[in-house]
């Protein structure tokens, strides 16, 4: 989507500039700084923090995929964990049954994801909103059932163990290497999402989300575009699932519970609906939050005394924070971010002039 030219003193002089992702030199400088920070992070941080960052990056891929589907195309899904599971199981089963390498299982996972995208998307042609969410939920249970049956039939009662991927003749086990693999995956997903959103498909999704009937009358193939959203989102999600399988070295149904779907929904809502940045912020927040609570609780005096209930308290705190977010900040993290940004951009003024103000 094209954006309002922001920085003063910077004017667009060609149509190509409307289409550019990076608009101003200032943006470019910030981006460069961020990139340097991301690249040096694993060399500064402890292995544990690198693992946390990797978890967050992996979550970002899934969250952006869900944001594409729910936040932009308006199709609500509670079956995200089912698609992650599908990707992970594709990688796991192929690895176990045929010993297929990394570079073959990933495309296979994407293909399975695309196929399931059509399956998960078909109900969307008839259903909307919560009913659609529930149909994806039902499909999630079916995928989980199939995966579970495979596990028990093949006797992998404690999950399918997967060897680390071999790249350039070396098994990738180093946390830093994984950090960079997942960072690449996240950045590529980000680019794919941004590219789609500023093109024809992205506009079609936005139109469908706003009003299906109008979109249809304008000549947008509603069914085809809905399915497209499902397919792309599911492919990305499936890939994230396969990456998860390799990263953690195992696959099992229990890892893809309904709660995982809900966590992803929480990511995009807490992050801020309809914003890719929101998906990223939400993924980071939801991933890191339990650790933050734990760290805070460890700092409280006499932490040992209530160790027995600490985890229940941690669990409950997650619920409380989610509620607080939903009630107090419906725009999500990205809403806060934008407010802060506007505040600094407009300082010392308080309000933005309304665009296209009344004559």
């Amino acid at each position: 989507m094209s954006r309002l030219p922001r920085a003063s003193g910077h004017f667009r002089t060609s149509y190509a500039q409307d289409f550019r992702l990076i608009q101003t030199p200032l943006e470019r400088r910030w981006l460069a700084a961020l990139l340097v920070a991301l690249l040096t992070f694993p060399f500064i941080a402890s292995p544990f923090l690198t693992d946390l960052a990797s978890q967050a990056l992996l979550a970002m891929v899934g969250a952006m995929a869900l944001m594409l589907l729910t936040g932009f195309a308006g199709q609500v899904s509670l079956g995200h964990a089912g698609l992650l599971a599908a990707g992970a199981f594709t990688a796991g089963i192929l690895f176990r049954e045929t010993g297929a390498p990394f570079w073959m299982t990933l495309p296979a996972a994407a293909l399975v994801g695309a196929f399931l995208g059509v399956v998960f998307g078909l109900p969307s042609l008839r259903l909307r909103g919560l009913y659609l969410a529930v149909s994806t939920l039902a499909l999630h249970f079916l995928v989980a059932y199939v995966g579970g049956e495979y596990e028990s039939k093949r006797g992998f009662s404690t999950g399918i163990v997967i060897d680390p991927p071999v790249i350039a003749g070396k098994a990738v086990t180093d946390p830093r290497a994984w950090y960079f693999i997942l960072l690449t995956a996240a950045v590529l997903t980000l680019l794919v999402c941004l590219n789609l959103l500023r093109s024809r498909s992205g506009r079609a999704w936005a139109a469908i989300r706003a009003n299906e009937t109008v979109a249809e009358a304008l000549g947008i193939g509603v069914a085809a575009n809905k399915l497209l959203a499902f397919v792309i989102s599911s492919m990305l999600t499936s890939l994230a699932g396969a990456l998860f399988a390799y990263y953690r070295g195992f696959v099992s149904v229990e890892a893809f519970s309904l709660f995982l779907s809900i966590q992803y929904v929480a990511m995009i809502i807490i992050g801020g609906m309809g914003s890719v940045l929101g998906a990223i912020l939400g993924a980071v927040f939801v991933t890191l939050f339990p650790y933050l609570i734990e760290a805070v609780m460890q700092l409280l005096p006499g932490a040992g005394a209530y160790a027995g209930v600490m985890f229940a308290v941690n669990y409950a705190a997650f619920g409380v924070v989610m509620i607080l977010f939903l009630v107090l900040e419906p725009q999500g993290l990205v809403g806060i971010w934008r407010r802060v940004q506007t505040y600094f951009l407009l300082w010392p003024f308080k309000h933005k002039p309304v665009a296209g103000a009344r004559r």
Partner: protein, 290 residues
């Protein structure tokens, strides 16, 4: 014969839980995914009142029911009320968050251990012989009876009760209802209370019958497809949906493969969504107009 009894008991369990989903959805178009947790909370409250009113089981049960009705109203007033006007998905997520919170709280207060409120109340749960050689436990029989009474009175209330009619009105068109002098907050709070009340009955009876632990929440979720099969906005539909799902489940367990019982509700649900997306008795959403 035993099969019929099994179907009746299972259908009653589903129906009693499902009507909680339906009540809230019908009135406020919110899907309450914390219903299982509210059920569980009610059962735990019974455990607590059982020890406070030792020796007076009826007293303990009514106190627990009263408390859970209060909880339902408070959930609306302090949480869901703030969610009016937000996206449907956000409201659903709020109920999920509430569920997480409640699960945490129950572990903090009552620990994760399996509990037996029946023992705490000093109640026994004998099995009753029925004609035809079938048997049913007392709690099972109570479940069927409670479900029948609950549905009977709810249907009557919604059809003939002045406030029941107003509840239906608020569900159809909240704005017009408000313009006709109805306090929507009161209506929604009543819906939440009623829903928690029926959920509490289900939770308590299940806990009395077979003990109480964190798994209760999963049972709450299992009744959800039943509500959908019938149509989320129809009480009669919830009853029919529960019967269909329960019958499918029991018959498959008996004649095919017990393992299937886990996915059966969802298979029935998907079949239903394909054929009649708005459910058996549900009302079709209006056509979009330009």
């Amino acid at each position: 014969m035993q099969l019929a009894v099994n179907i009746a008991v299972l259908a009653s369990i589903y129906a009693l839980i499902a009507c909680g989903y339906v009540l809230i959805y019908r009135v406020s178009r919110v899907l309450n995914l914390a219903h299982g947790e509210l059920m569980m909370l009610a059962a735990y409250l019974l455990l607590t009142t059982a020890s406070s009113f030792a020796g007076h089981p009826l007293f303990a049960i009514s106190a627990a029911i009263g408390l859970s009705i209060l909880v339902g109203a408070m959930v609306y007033l302090f949480l869901m009320r703030k969610m009016t006007g937000e996206m449907a998905l956000a409201a659903v997520l709020a109920t999920v968050a509430l569920g997480v919170l409640l699960r945490g709280i129950t572990v903090i207060v009552w620990s994760a251990q399996q509990q037996y409120p029946a023992t705490a109340l000093g109640l026994v749960n004998p099995s009753i012989a029925l004609p035809g050689g079938a048997r049913i436990s007392l709690c099972g029989a109570l479940l069927v009876a409670c479900t029948a009474v609950a549905y009977g009175s709810l249907l009557a209330f919604l059809r003939f009760g002045r406030w029941g009619v107003r509840m239906r009105a608020a569900g159809q068109s909240p704005l017009l209802a408000a313009q006709r002098g109805i306090n929507l907050h009161a209506i929604y709070a009543i819906a939440w209370s009623l829903s928690t009340f029926t959920g509490a009955m289900a939770g308590m009876l299940i806990a009395l019958d077979s003990g109480l632990g964190q798994t209760m929440t999963i049972i709450g979720l299992k009744a959800f497809p039943a509500a959908l099969v019938g149509g989320l906005d129809s009480l009669a539909g919830a009853l029919a949906g529960s019967l269909i799902v329960a019958a499918a489940e029991v018959l498959l367990i008996h004649y095919v493969d017990p393992l299937l019982s886990e996915v059966v509700p969802f298979l029935v649900l998907i079949a239903m969504l394909v054929v009649r997306p708005w459910g058996l008795f549900g009302t079709r959403e209006e056509l979009d107009r330009v």
